[in-house]
């Protein structure tokens, strides 16, 4: 059984909501959403906060870690915090997207991509279907492949 890297364990560390613009956020993916060299937005969902791992406290491969090796052939993609717009959509700003550090005991880097309305409510606000579709597409244009999926 693979051993969990020490950096993944929380070990009493506090939340850290300081995200730099260039910090990467990592997420697993499979090849079916990577179509002829383009990542399809259908692989993203923003109906609720989306889990990612933040670069500041993790390596890309950490999102593939599993005691049972179930993600051995999955890939890892990334986007940057600066890819999450402070106001969206550009022609009629209604929402703000941002990263939140939500550490877990066995995955300190765990974070979430959040959406709030403009002005802020402090809650996760589910954008309209049209805005979600545009945001998912915009984000998929900006992803980088950190580890290529083979499944």
């Amino acid at each position: 059984m693979p051993e969990r890297p020490e950096r993944m364990k929380r070990n009493g560390r506090a939340e850290d909501q300081d995200f730099q613009a260039a910090e990467k956020l990592f997420r697993r993916y499979t090849r079916e959403h990577y179509i002829n060299g383009l990542f399809s937005n259908t692989g993203f969902a923003f109906t609720s906060p989306q889990s990612v791992n933040r670069q500041k406290y993790s390596e890309p491969a950490d999102v593939l870690f599993s005691e049972t090796d179930e993600f051995a052939k999955w890939g890892v993609l990334s986007f940057k915090c600066e890819d999450l717009p402070e106001s969206f959509p550009p022609d009629n700003p209604q929402y703000r997207f941002f990263a939140r550090h939500v550490p877990m005991e066995d995955n300190y880097a765990h974070s979430e991509v959040w959406c709030d309305a403009l002005p802020a409510t402090g809650e996760y606000v589910r954008p309209s279907k049209q805005v979600r579709k545009l945001f998912r597409a915009a984000l998929s244009q900006r992803i980088a492949i950190e580890i290529a999926a083979t499944v």
């Binding site: 499979t30 399809s40 259908t42 109906t47 609720s48 889990s51 998912r136």
Partner: protein
């Protein structure tokens, strides 16, 4: 699968009754050539190509009907009956060009995505679990453009036409 069965059936009919005499080799050669000609004729037939592509797409939808929730390990819902039924309607409007380029995938928001890409051009049409159909198209890093429908056959056809124009341009 339909094509494979048709070919197998024709091959059986071409079987020579003479397998091991003086004309056996010539007979075998003739038989092989005839089978090849048949396969070529079938494979270039527009009708058969369309039939095979449609069968593959239907088969893919059947696969998606079997996946469970959390298929992306991030909690994605499985495509539900509404999404699958709408996806079948979208499929009915597709021509062989559409079918050839379409990648049919589960949507992380719940539903079925018909995704197309060529070079730096991307477009999709998504049939969602709440019964809606919405799509998007873009080139490279250009601002994405929504493809909206009202669920009618005419709007599905118009959406697919947008996809064709975008991908073929």
């Amino acid at each position: 699968m339909i094509i494979a069965e048709a070919i197998a059936d024709r091959k059986t009919r071409f079987r020579s009754p003479i397998e091991s005499n003086a004309v056996g080799a010539a007979s075998q050669e003739l038989k092989t050539e005839a089978a090849k000609d048949l396969e070529n004729a079938v494979s270039v037939s527009v009708f058969w190509t369309a039939t095979v592509l449609l069968a593959k797409a239907q088969s893919r939808l059947s696969e998606l009907a079997q996946i469970g929730s959390n298929w992306d390990t991030y909690g994605a819902p499985a495509p539900n009956q509404a999404a699958l039924e709408t996806a079948v309607r979208v499929l009915e409007h597709m021509n062989p060009f559409d079918l050839m380029l379409a990648n049919i995938v589960p949507s992380a928001e719940g539903g079925v995505g018909f995704c197309f890409s060529r070079g730096d051009r991307y477009a999709d049409i998504e049939s969602s679990n709440d019964g809606d159909i919405i799509g998007v198209r873009y080139i490279g890093m250009q601002t994405p453009v929504l493809i909206e429908t009202d669920g009618t056959d005419a709007s599905i056809e118009a959406a697919l036409q947008q996809v064709r124009n975008h991908i073929r341009a």
